[in-house]
């Protein structure tokens, strides 16, 4: 499309100046042998408390286990990702998660005298199952806060798992479609370029 710019608004001299400041491309160097962080350090949470995060890991393990050659939520690092995502989310979302995970721990303690993370699959089911309700429409969540949390967390854990690099790799390895590339819109002529 041919367009014209607002008359004095475009700094037309920028291009040659920028070109003048360009330096030669660096020459190839020997690759540096990098060490993967996970082999030398333990992940730490940045948002959830330790008991909350342990409950989230257990919930992820139970709700989305490895199935049919696909990685489970733990393989995909879904709990760690959600610790990041919820940590930068609006406060309502943060509160939903904190309250929900505390609820799981409270019910586990009351029924089994253990934390939710320490429950076996059958015990965890007795906590989870009553909170599960069908959701006809995602924008009309259940009124019960525990159910609301569980439905939201289930959805998030599934999405974080299915959108993981591990899921994509497993799909590619098995010859199935695995979230191939999509068109991503870069910022278009943003105001703030710094």
């Amino acid at each position: 499309m041919q367009t014209i710019a607002a008359a004095p608004a475009v700094p037309v001299l920028l291009t040659p100046q920028a070109n003048a400041q360009q330096t030669a491309a660096p020459t190839a160097a020997q690759p540096i042998a990098a060490t993967k962080a996970g082999t030398v350090a333990e992940p730490v949470t940045r948002f959830f408390t330790a008991p909350q995060f342990a409950a989230l890991r257990k919930l992820a393990e139970v709700l989305m286990p490895p199935i049919g050659g696909n990685p489970g939520a733990l393989d995909a690092g879904a709990p760690e990702f959600l610790d990041f995502l919820i940590g930068v989310s609006p406060v309502e979302r943060q509160q939903l998660y904190r309250t929900g995970l505390d609820l799981l721990n409270a019910r586990a303690t009351k029924q089994f005298n253990k934390s939710f993370a320490a429950l076996d699959a059958k015990q965890a089911d007795t906590i989870i199952r009553p909170l599960l309700v069908p959701v006809p429409w995602p924008y009309d969540p259940p009124k019960d806060p525990g159910s609301h949390f569980l439905i939201a967390a289930h959805d998030d854990i599934r999405t974080a798992t299915r959108n993981s690099r591990e899921w994509g790799a497993a799909a590619a390895a098995s010859g199935r479609r695995g979230g191939g590339g999509q068109q991503y819109w870069n910022p278009v002529d943003p105001i703030y370029k710094g």
Binding site: M1, Q2, T3, I4, A5, A6, A7, P8, A9, V10, V62, L63, M64, P65, I67, G68, F81, L85, V88, S89, P90, R93, I128, R129, L132, V133, P134, V135, P136, W137, P138, Y139, D140, I151, H154, D155, D156, R158, T159, A160, N163, S164, R165, W167, G168, G179, G180, G181, Q182, Q183, Y184, W185, N186, P187, V188, D189, I191
Partner: protein, 523 residues
Amino acid sequence: MATKEYDVLIVGSGHSGGMAANILTQKGISCLMLNAGPEADMARDRTTKTVWDLPYRGFGKPGRLPHVYQATEFTANQWVDEKEVPYTHDPAAPYNWVRVRLLGGKSLFWGRQSFRLSDFEFKAADIDGTGDNWPISHADLDPFYSRVEGILRVSGRKEGWPQFPDGNFLQADYANDSGSIKKISELGASRGILFSKIRAANGRNGLASSINLLLPDALASGKLQIVPNAIVREITVDKNTGLANGANFVDRHSRQEMHVKARAVVVAAGTLESTRLLLNSGIGNSSGVLGHYLQDQIYGVTVVASVPEARDGKNPEYMGGSALVPRFRNLKKGEKHNFIKGYGMLINSGGAASPGYFADYGEGLQKRLDSYAGSCVSASIYGERVPRFENHVRINKTVSDEWGIPVLHIDVRDSANELNMAKDAAATAEDLLKAAGWEILSKTDKFYPPGYSIHEVGTCRMGDNPKSSVLNKWSQSHDVRNLFVVDGGSFVTCGWQNPTLTILALAMRASEYMADQMQKRII
């Protein structure tokens, strides 16, 4: 310093601005188009990425676009930044204003469904017994609809139904209906609910936008210049004549304030931006209805069923395809419902079940999802909201955008009519799907906040009476005769139909009238 006076200043570059430019330049009229955003380059500005390479794994940055439910992390940068150009509403009455400021506007991304309004909408007051008729009928717009359908290359199946007027369609090659679509069509017919097909703009190369169908010819005429990144602050008026004589705008990057002169002004910034501009300019509102009667359609009401004989991968030939059900409620006088107006339905066959439909998890859930895959039929509703004076926008003088321009406060609330219509729609869809012997998996009569459909219209309504309307039947301001508003602002009723085809037809009609008036020196 440029002191040129253009014949016409066009604010906005989407379908309606593009149509105005296309028509006016063909008549030899010089036009300057100002667009608030930059020009997008599909090659430069898009990159192929996998979802796991995105910072938020596809969730998107939390809180970035709280009103744009359509946004994904892939598309987040195409929408207007809500912090850069905010708007306000009562927290208890949310409104989803979905905006694009790239050159071409929303025409770059629209769904391309292309339906005419019928006289059930143009003459709604006669049928509803309340509200207002448009000052025009389908017959007035018919020739313009036909020309627009030709430009957009609309395909559709002719039906001969007055509530779903036929048009100038490409010969569509519809595959035979699948068994599931046939069955539900027959059930619908036995209940007086008629099934047709989606009518869609084919455009060119998968794009039916102003940037590829309308602006190229205008540019080729040598009569159009386009300035991107030009945010119009106000339309200026000659104090002696009361006529519009140009606009003040600010350059998006340099923030340089500028003024451009024109003999006439076409506002085509999109319904709400156009109204915001008029309100901020203090013009066109002698009636007091500028900003009022904001409408769009209710979306979200959906019923989903599973066809038992198509589960576990069986009978795939029975599934697939879609159907479009045009409005069928309140077409006859004497119909008794607890709502006026009506709704259409989109039927899709062959889909998957959502995990949320089942109270299950882990392997149990996966087995159900695998079993139900491909066996689902959904019915989604497009419902018409009632135009109500109370549903309005006004300038919020306490909040400004990045360029210091006061923003809109939007106040839209649904009435019993919308709620009753949604309940009727969900019950009717459920009845149809159940009658087919299918298992209902999900039913909701809830719907998204107003604005979600991205079909916002009204707020500059047209009418014959200057005391109760902003524009006349030519989309011309009653107050400022060289000012035209050619986007969805002029709508009197929104119908259940996607508005783009009507916006384009109205813009074409208004532009031809305007050109004629200018050539006769009346404007």
